[in-house]
Symmetry: C2
Subunit: 437 residues, 2 copies
């Protein structure tokens, strides 16, 4: 038995909002040293290509290879990793991949279709949806090397119709993660380069003799990777720049307190900056969860990380009502939101901002992390206010379709002519007027 000093806040406290904001604050600014280091790395890779990538990789990953060939994995390498798994792992990885694929196929059917309509005068308008040609997936190495992330990044790209999926993953000290490579094999990754950091991002964005230039780079990384993605944005597409992971649980007090405590742990164990928050109108229940936390923590292998996370960034919040809990959740816009309640449907309708919503007592966040089907790459740090889970739509883009009929050109030409003259753009106006009879 131990005591974890996670604060309990009451929304009735006069300074509640200030306490909440202080606790939520997270400094994501990039220091100037990282900015200039990344600028330099990108310039080197653009100027010297493969040679710079090899040199920087030897330096940062403490290895000693002669050429890009030593940093390139073949399909045979990936298959060997897959074949080397034990039966249980192989089956679980395949089952997860299958479910992730099914979900993203359903998503593609909902929002990945071209469409058009014809107006009375014969003018056709619409949008054509096409996949990206080639994408790059950044997979972190070292302690945060997660095979599940490989599935979650590569499978939507595949379902979207992307032809070539290039994965980069650093292997510090030359150590390869077999589960990560096996996941790349299952997910249909085309080529893997064992390169990481800003040098990997630069190589994918601009291309080298060996690394093909991609159209978009997705996947999480450290501060150097994040800054590099920010700098190459425009040259290529990028996904969100991820912050620390968060869970927010809205509980009505009917779920086993042990389950809720363990769900809070499952986020806290990611890293010391991860944030776990409980919102509940029942003060007695909150006390029970606190007791479960104290009881269960000693058995956790990552208890040091969990304790630091819960004490520095965790919150147990007693609210006036479930409605108020939903309102507070909307101001936080959490990455993961569990609605652990008897009738979660009542509350989900009040939620405006969340990366993923886990409904009911049986839906632990960990099921979504691995195998429920929806993507586990989700907007962090309040960015669910304006962004979405990774999906097939991140690997597709749209082209407007405009086919104006001769009759349509008469109506539209008049309007365009007036507005173009109003903007002082005579060639625009003339171009429309020339099509008038």
């Amino acid at each position: 038995m131990t005591t974890i000093n996670t604060p309990t806040l009451q929304t009735t406290d006069s300074d509640f909002n200030q306490q909440l904001q202080t606790r939520l604050a997270f400094d994501d600014s990039t220091d100037a040293g990282i900015q200039s280091a990344v600028t330099d790395i990108i310039a080197q890779v653009r100027a010297r290509g493969d040679a710079a990538v090899v040199e920087l990789t030897n330096k940062f990953d403490r290895i000693n290879v002669a050429s890009m060939a030593d940093l390139t994995l073949t399909q045979a390498d990936l298959k060997a990793a897959f074949d080397g798994l034990n039966d249980e792992q192989r089956t679980a990885l395949q089952a997860a991949a299958h479910r992730v694929k099914s979900y993203h196929e359903a998503q593609n059917a909902e929002c990945g279709k071209s469409w058009q309509y014809t107006e009375a005068d014969g003018t056709v308008l619409g949008q054509k949806v096409t996949p990206l040609d080639r994408v790059g997936i950044y997979v972190p190495g070292g302690k945060a090397a997660y095979p599940s992330s490989v599935l979650m990044n590569a499978i939507p790209a595949h379902v979207a119709g992307v032809n070539e999926i290039i994965m980069v993953v650093p292997t510090p000290d030359g150590v390869r993660n077999a589960l990560v490579l096996a996941a790349a094999y299952i997910a249909g990754v085309t080529t893997v380069f064992t390169v990481g950091g800003a040098q990997a991002v630069a190589a994918l964005a601009y291309g080298t003799a060996t690394v093909p230039r991609v159209d978009k780079i997705v996947g999480p990384g450290n501060a150097f990777v994040a800054e590099a993605k920010r700098r190459v944005f425009g040259q290529v597409g990028i996904d969100m720049i991820a912050g620390p992971s968060e869970i927010l649980i809205i509980a009505d007090g009917t779920t086993s307190p042990d389950w809720v405590a363990m769900d809070l742990f499952s986020q806290a164990e990611h890293d010391e900056l991860a944030q776990s928050i409980l919102l509940c109108p029942d003060a007695d229940y909150v006390a029970q969860v606190r007791a479960s936390i104290d009881k269960l923590l000693p058995d956790m292998p990552r208890r040091g990380v969990i304790r630091t996370s819960l004490e520095n960034r965790g919150m147990l919040i007693v609210t006036r009502s479930m409605d108020e809990a939903c309102e507070i959740s909307n101001t936080i816009a959490p990455e993961h939101l569990e609605i652990s309640a008897v009738n979660p449907h009542v509350w989900v309708d009040k939620i405006r901002h969340a990366g993923a919503i886990f409904m009911g007592a049986y839906t632990s966040e960990s099921l979504g992390d691995y195998c429920a089907g929806p993507n586990h790459v989700l907007p962090t740090s309040g960015t669910a206010r304006f962004s979405s889970p990774l999906g097939v739509y991140d690997f597709q883009k749209r082209s407007s379709i405009i086919h104006v009929s001769e009759a349509g050109a008469q109506t539209l030409g008049q309007i365009a002519s007036t507005l173009a003259h109003g903007e002082g753009l005579t060639a625009h106006a003339r171009s429309a007027e020339m099509r008038l009879k």
Copy 2:
């Protein structure tokens, strides 16, 4: 009659690819001076809020106001601008707004709907689509102040369901553009601040006492605005960072050469960096377009800009075939693509990357710029490889919905447990295992 030195390239030239790449190259790097100026402006606005915004606006826009109240326009101001338009302009602006709205409503019906499905064991999966709460629209002042851009940015936000639309527009030397304010009135903009530059972006991203913090900032601007958007990305969402505008015309030689020449002008007149390209397999026709260019240019009020653009960045390219023209277009991924051909359907199927595709001789790009309906905010500089026209989807985001049944938790729990142990995340595994019977 005049002679414009736009080069004619032949795809059969041995150095064609090199000539093409040289001509396409465009340096979009941000110089270090702009980077540090923008960092400083953002820091000032974060630290001193309204006071900094007023001070910086007085300095950069050469005005002298006392407070934010002097930089805030009311609905009455916008209505007065609208009422002051002449009948023709008012009617044209309303007709354009109506068509843009209809198109984006159709788009919303296609890809803006929540969806879910239920599995055999009762588990429900899906996505909930919700609008952003509040967005900021940056509208350039001065020479590039376009009312049509106000419609194209604000209307999709409205259709998406956004509650509050905050517009910022600089008024250098205190000069307001009545058409821009009238467009804001029609498009349903909530509030207008006459503030621009990096200070406007910072105020929208972080909020001040007067300017409400928004969730996303869209709209084009100069290098300071682009760098500011890049820096606040993550704090808020942003749209693409726009480069110079481009048109590429694939012609089969059946459209009046005068029409094609004027369509090339309509892009070139935007600014000297704009790029106009013709691809056609018929050398005689290309010569006719060149003659039309020489003939029509002297009558254009913006002939100086058009000439510079066509001579420095324009290209007339004779291809081996229409198929080859489509292939080259795909490597360029143009913002605007006109397929000026008798049967454009044959060729549109071969197009993989383009912001908007204008099909047939009657579909001049200018119709799309103002009133066809589809958005004129399009990916530039080859970014159509990975990005889409501005649309309702830019003002909405998705939340995954996961509601696992008790039976589902048994199947999924086993898989999650195996994979979580494989990643060394014991709390994730325990959280799934606790739900097993």
